[in-house]
């Protein structure tokens, strides 16, 4: 069974939650409605034909011009070798997604990173707090409109350009 077949079956089962187009490439890509990402992932992991037992990557991308934050889920199956990318686009002012950490435990940390650096909130996450930045950091650094604060705990983040004589 190849990815196109998996995609077809998914659409049969879930309808419009999964987008009709599948961008076929090395890691074929299809869009998924954000609120149902957990449902889709559960089906993909539990069905024996797809058996996506590994979440290889979870990345958040800030599409400022489209006013969305897209979260890419790269799924991999060690049993069959299938590779699939799911893309969930959430509105930029208030990006919320259901968590998949109950499906793949590694999603716990990957979602924390997405929250920390991009501000995507994951409902149902057991412990959503910052992971890379300090706990009291304000803002989400990887956003396109992120402005560095003037100082952090009294240490200035600005300095004279070293190139000036």
């Amino acid at each position: 069974m190849d990815i196109a077949e998996i995609h077809r079956r998914l659409r049969e089962r879930l309808g419009n939650i999964v987008s009709p187009e599948l961008e076929v490439k090395d890691w074929s890509l299809c869009d998924v409605k954000p609120q149902s990402i957990a449902e889709v992932c559960t089906i993909l992991r539990d069905e024996p034909e797809s058996a996506f037992d590994c979440l290889s990557n979870l990345s958040a991308v800030d599409r400022k011009s489209a006013d969305t934050i897209e979260v890419y889920y790269h799924l991999f199956s060690y049993q069959h070798g299938h590779r699939l990318t799911l893309r969930a686009a959430t509105p930029r002012p208030d990006p919320i997604l259901p968590t998949v950490s109950h499906i793949w435990p590694i999603a716990d940390w990957l979602e924390r990173e997405a929250f920390d650096l991009m501000g995507v909130r994951f409902t149902g996450h057991p412990d959503l707090r910052r992971i890379l930045m300090p706990e009291d950091w304000v803002g989400h650094p990887l956003r396109k409109d992120f402005v560095e604060p003037e100082e952090y705990h009294g240490i200035s983040t600005r300095r004279e350009s070293l190139l000036k004589l």
Binding site: C54, S56, N57, V61, G81, P105, M133
Partner: protein, 386 residues
């Protein structure tokens, strides 16, 4: 560390009605282990741990954000710092991602140079890893011997690109410089000296009874757990999953080489314990030597780098490329918007998952074992934090 997030000093009643207290210890960012700036909040009941909660972010250098500012070519030196213990493979990952975005083909000699550099990098990284594992367990001598061999490898790679740690050897489209004259001879001479030494290390330390006692049956990671937690590389293979990106999703010229993928067998304890992970690394060194010999024997003629525009503007799109780095498959997710600067770069590294699984593994382990587990999972802080 947010104090509300962890219960501090939980009082428990033992079965005999004695009140005991859990100790909260801080295995702080500074400690004499070679794995970098890592911090654990250890909640221990005497010598036995209840949980070891990792606290990462001390080495976060916002490399991914910097990529959006320096452009595709300019990012290459930064990729060295993603995993500075084995920097060649990180270079390769970035170069492959950019080449895939733009559809560039690397000339054959360039691919051979890349394989040679990557495998030497893998040797160096595994040497450091097994040496540091020995040192954390208490045997300080194998570390010095491993570093001695690593110094020779550093000398060889210095010949190749001028640097000993952060190489910046590869470019988008190939490698920066050709192999210097006489390089192949010297490299083969090194391999002739090095391969018997792997047996010597095994005799010295791997089969030592105390060493085996310290590592066997410690922190057993089952197959399902390893896959669910996205462990990769020697950690995954130590749990019995025979998966290597070089063989199962091959890239570069790896299909042309014959080598085996060592898998943990539970020889001295349970399958998936720390000893398996350690032995997989020792055996991988032998396999890397095999690949190197084949590559050095068959280096073709030709250019080492394809012509790539100075203002590299790949078409818009996204790509997810995996390379088999020393610590497992490193995923490079690059999003391009058609301009000369990457729109988003995300590096998913093997040590990130290894750090994540430590909290799960630490239940019931002893504090002395925590160090062994960190060492055998081969965690380097720059990979975790980027």
């Amino acid at each position: 560390m947010n104090a509300d997030a962890i219960d501090l000093d939980v009082r428990r009643e033992t079965s005999r009605g004695l009140e005991t207290e859990e100790m909260t210890l801080n295995m702080g960012p500074q400690h004499p282990s070679t794995h970098g700036v890592l911090r654990f909040v250890v909640k221990a009941d005497g010598e036995v741990m209840r949980r070891a909660i990792p606290d990462i972010g001390y080495l976060h250098r916002s490399i991914e954000k910097i990529a959006e500012k320096v452009g595709y070519h300019g990012f290459m030196p930064y990729t060295d710092r993603v995993d500075y213990v084995s920097a060649m493979q990180c270079n390769q990952g970035w170069a492959m991602a950019c080449e895939k975005l733009a559809g560039i083909e690397v000339p054959r000699k360039g691919e051979y140079c890349r394989v040679i550099a990557c495998e030497f990098g893998r040797l160096a990284s595994h040497l450091l890893s097994v040496g540091a594992t020995g040192m954390d367990i208490g045997a300080v001598t194998p570390f010095t011997h491993a570093i001695r061999e690593r110094e020779y490898i550093n000398d060889i790679l210095e010949e190749l690109c001028g640097a000993r740690l952060t190489f910046n050897y590869m470019r988008i489209g190939g490698c920066a410089w050709d192999l210097p004259p006489g390089f192949v001879g010297r490299a083969v001479k090194f391999l002739d000296r090095f391969e018997p030494l792997i047996d010597e290390y095994n005799e010295l330390i791997s089969f030592n009874k105390i060493y085996v006692e310290r590592l066997a049956n410690v922190a057993v990671v089952s197959r399902e757990m390893a896959i669910a937690w996205n462990l990769v590389g020697p950690n995954l293979r130590g749990s019995g999953v025979k998966y290597d990106v070089r063989k199962d999703a091959p890239y570069s010229v790896y299909p042309e080489f014959e080598f085996d993928v060592p898998v943990g067998t539970g020889e001295r304890g349970t399958l998936g314990d720390s000893y398996d992970r350690y032995m997989v690394r020792m055996r991988e060194m032998e396999e890397s030597c095999k690949i190197l010999r084949q590559a050095l024997a068959g280096v073709p003629e030709g250019p080492v780098v394809a012509k790539v525009a100075r203002m590299f503007k790949p078409p818009a799109g996204e790509v997810y490329v995996r390379v088999e780095a020393s610590r497992g498959d490193m995923g490079w997710f690059v999003v391009s918007d058609g301009s000369a600067f990457p729109y988003r770069v995300h590096i998913r590294t093997g040590s990130f998952a290894a750090m994540a699984i430590i909290e799960e593994l630490s239940k019931g382990l002893m504090i002395a074992d925590l160090v062994a587990v960190i060492a055998t999972l081969d965690i380097v802080a720059p990979e975790v934090d980027r």
